[in-house]
């Protein structure tokens, strides 16, 4: 209907040597289902990447199945689906571990705030408890060496570097 070059038209519309991905029937349905699964996994991976940001980076890369865009065959779609599923599983595991670590660090921070003298010189950053910014909590003695000898410990709160905040606002 649209192809005007007679050489091209019959080949595209009535090609009997179709490339494997474009065979029809049940395989068409199977490929549609795999594409649906790929879309769903891509959404899950996007959510994990977004949730992890900016605390840590989740590897969302899945090797390209083709150098150029084309309709993938069943096997290739399965490979993409499986690779995405593996990335989602890895990302979720990494996120869970990070959440557990941050929860443990928050508990440690509370204990340090309650009893600084029991956590001498301990330093917990905002990143360690999953908060943005580059500030930290640091258990230090009052008045330097005198406080150290007297056991006068306190938690000093650093609000972080002001420059990073300004840069972030600028960008």
């Amino acid at each position: 209907m649209i192809y005007t070059r007679m050489r091209v038209m019959p080949d595209l519309l009535y090609r009997d040597t179709r490339t494997e991905p474009l065979s029809g029937g049940d395989e068409l349905l199977a490929r549609a289902e795999l594409r649906r699964q790929i879309g769903r996994l891509e959404r899950q991976l996007a959510a994990i990447v977004a949730e992890a940001f900016p605390r840590f980076r989740v590897d969302a890369g899945v090797a390209a199945a083709a150098p150029e865009p084309r309709a993938l065959g069943l096997g290739e779609l399965e490979a993409v689906r499986d690779a995405l599923a593996a990335q989602v599983a890895d990302g979720r595991r990494a996120l869970d571990e990070r959440v557990r670590l941050e929860a443990a660090n928050r508990e440690l921070l509370e204990r340090m705030l309650d009893a600084p003298e029991e956590h001498k010189w301990l330093r917990i950053s905002r990143a360690d408890v999953g908060e943005p910014g580059c500030g930290h909590w640091h258990s230090r003695p009052h008045f330097g060496p005198i406080g150290m000898m007297m056991g006068w410990w306190r938690v000093k709160v650093s609000s972080g570097c002001p420059l990073s905040g300004r840069l972030a606002a600028g960008f």
Partner: protein
């Protein structure tokens, strides 16, 4: 409920021209579509109004936006489609993510002249993938199809692998679907009429496509 009014009914001139998708490709990718709009415009420097627009967009766009963008419906739809056609969207970036990355790298949406900046504005605002062609070099309607044996993309060495998804006119491939544009119909300094094409994939609403085309055309016409 009646059907949606056509863009021309809304006073959008020129109205987007729907292209077509080869039947066996459409069977594989329901929702894949292409439509285009032709504008009498020539490449040139970026007008002040567009520069201002780019600055405004830069001010609204941060690193967190770039990362979270993939969760939004339209960027996600293109990412998923890229996976489905064998591309890794973290290497071969979707158009909107490519621009987002450039924004982070450069610190702003830098002006590159028209028509590229018109596409940047529309892509960032809508997320829709847009392509530019020299309208006078195109023959007939644009379509999305798979390449036939022996076909080439002008300006690229070697033949296309049969089955490569391309945007084509009635005569030959005009560009890879999400990739290089044929030298034969690329916009050059000599271009006088520009065809702006939007590639729609499943999950991208028609209204966003129409808006992207209209926004690009309006920017080019105003220049």
């Amino acid at each position: 409920m009646g059907s949606d009014p056509a863009p021309s009914d809304l006073g959008w001139e020129p109205a987007p021209e729907p292209g077509w998708v080869a039947p066996h490709v459409a069977a594989e990718f329901p929702g894949l579509a292409i439509s285009s709009i032709v504008v009498d415009s020539r490449p040139g420097s970026t007008p002040e109004a567009v520069r201002r627009r780019l600055r405004d967009l830069s001010d609204r766009f941060y690193g967190a936006h770039a990362v979270r963008m993939r969760e939004r419906p339209i960027p996600w739809a293109y990412r998923a489609f890229f996976r489905q056609i064998g591309l890794d969207p973290d290497r071969t970036r979707t158009p909107v993510e490519d621009l987002a990355l450039e924004r982070l790298r450069e610190g702003a949406f830098k002006p590159h002249g028209l028509p590229a900046d018109a596409v940047t504005v529309a892509t960032i605002e809508t997320g829709v993938a847009l392509r530019l062609f020299d309208a006078e070099q195109l023959r007939g309607n644009l379509c999305v199809r798979d390449s036939a044996p022996g076909e080439v993309l002008a300006g690229r060495p070697g033949e296309l692998t049969p089955g490569t998804l391309v945007i084509a006119d009635d005569a030959a491939p005009a560009g890879l679907l999400f990739g290089a544009t044929s030298e034969a119909c690329a916009v050059t300094q000599g271009t006088r009429r520009i065809a702006v094409a939007a590639v729609q994939v499943s999950g991208v609403p028609q209204i966003a496509v129409d808006e992207a085309l209209w926004m690009t055309a309006a920017t080019l016409e105003a220049a």
